[in-house]
Amino acid sequence: MSGRVSIVVALLTAAMAASAGAADGLQQVATIARPEGVQFRFSAVAPDGKQVTVACSDDKLRVFALPTGALLRAIETGGSPPTSLAYAAKAPRLVVSTRDGAVFVFATGDGAQVERVDAGGQPLYGLAVSPDGSLFASIPLGRPAELWELRPARRRAVLRTDFGSSNAIAFSADGTRLVSADEDTAVRVYDARDGRLLTAASDLLLETFAVRFTADGKHLLLGGADKRVTVIDAATAKVARQMQGTHPLEWLEPLPGGRVLTGSFSEESMRKPGPTIVWGGDGAPLVVGSETSFNGGGRLRDGRVMLTSLKDAALVVWAVQ
């Protein structure tokens, strides 16, 4: 372990000890009681921060107002259980994938169905939508990710892996590029216009589970089984910076000021949450949650990030400070 890594691990261990069990750095925005007889599963917060959509155990989506928690509407997806939710960052669209391989697009204003795309028939594991809502990328279970346009519905490209499927996908903020983190451990950047491979980071040893472009699109943030936040140049795929954590990273999100928010899981069990950390611009870790399992959230248009978790079967919505 390098000296720099040792220092970071020591800082992280100390920070975890200081804030064990606390949720410093997170502000509770709303608590939403579950409807009778229904369990909440996962959720997405709209980019305006005014609503949250929750996939429920009865296979319906329920949309709640924030911060009041009032139920706005219930949405159905043709009887097939929803598997992923994503809001378009700059368009009033909610995109939903399902277990039977369909992708639904709903208007966020009234919940009306705008599109239904048969995206191949395989269960869809992951989903990303371009900021303007014109493209989506999906991960069919056990297969590499695919790039689709919505109107007319057409598959633009099947992305490539050496073997296995994709773990995570994300569009750049301007919608021109798509990144996939794949099971063969590579991270690949594509031109979203035609699916052409632009660059790839292929020397990573372990799988990346989460990937995001930074807001300016110049870098990629990676997190995965190597327990590190890795910052790489999005054009050259060269590693620019790494921050060593103590747990495998499951998700991450860029924050204003060059900070990065990460969520992790325990090496004992992927279902047991590890620390949730805000990494400062200088790489210093601040633990903002150590025992909370987050089940969704969203990036707001002003750059803030919201998270959701379950507590006593209710959905708790948090704002990251």
């Binding site: 279970l141 056990g142 372990l206 089984a225 992927m270 987050f294 998270l307």
Partner: protein, 211 residues
Amino acid sequence: MPTARLSRRDLLEKCLGLGVVTSAAALLPDELAWAWAEAEAGRHATPEAALGPFYKKRAPATSMLRGAADIGLPLSVSGRVFDIRGNPLTDAVVEVWQTDHLGHYDLDGYRYRARLAPAADGTYSFESVMPGHYPDRVCQHIHYLVTALGHRPLPTQLYFASDPVFEGNPDKNFTRDGLITSRELVRPVVLLGDPKDMRAAVTFDLVLDTL
């Protein structure tokens, strides 16, 4: 942010349970006839299973995964690598990884990870310990990734008929682990040696489909 979706494991388990996942597209009649002839003449490809999530590249080329001081039931695994015509695939690369006997994967190093090159007759073997159980998985297992030029990469998993989860009846109980894609992947275990120095031995042949 946390991805607003089901976990892959949850989705895979639900889909396998409902028979939603298909391993091959529907075959046309002439393809069926061809597949039948192929099965008569050679072998069928080993069923695939989930790859991850803890695959690690550049594992060491060694057949001894077990350290001298390691505890756990010593395990010998051997088999052959074939194409679907039954020819040995001598240029294949067999990557294996597993937990230690307590159910822990090594993410920081390469314990219980190896890269194997089959011999001229397609045989491979390695020495390890029986992997442990861990909370996310029902059954003990060893991960495989087998690659060879001109052949479809094979991610699969080896399971053990002796696993207590099967209660002595893997035919009936292999579905207790929602991620076991085929009964074929549950292999018989032979116990060798005397009670004070016992080890387990398993044979697992691998058949790769052509690209």
